[in-house]
């Protein structure tokens, strides 16, 4: 379901960070078009 999709990644520092999500998206055949990691501290 990620294959061929353009994906906006919104990670979280205390959860799953953006780059970790991006690794999963790319491995599943998706294209990351925007990536950010939020921090609520």
């Amino acid at each position: 379901m990620l294959k061929g999709k353009r994906v906006i990644v919104i990670g979280e520092r205390d959860g799953v960070p953006g780059p970790a999500i991006a690794n999963c998206v790319v491995a599943a055949g998706g294209q990351v078009v925007y990536l950010t990691t939020e921090c609520f501290v």
Binding site: M1, R6, I8, I10, E12, V16, A20, C24, A28, F40
Partner: protein, 108 residues
Amino acid sequence: MDAEAQGNIKKIAEDQEGKDNLIVVLGASDLEGAEISAATVTVGDPSFAGPLAGVPLGLPVYHILEPEIRQAVPEKVYNENVGVMAMVIDPREVGERFKKIREKAAQG
């Protein structure tokens, strides 16, 4: 979600390729916070503070812990990058919550 991120997402959704094949994947550990981010990219910024205030993008939004996402990612890559969080948060609960959000967004 901060104003800068909202502005960038708005720009991507409104560019030439538009919303075709465009989805959002979140990684927040706090599910209430994740639901606020999900609302921001579907019905608009609930706090009415950022560029997406009153802008219902209606993007399909998923959480990285949802079983549907996990199945799409090679197991080794998923375990290396997400594995620990999947033990802290119940993926089934995440899946149910986000399914409802997507259904609500699809209804407009």
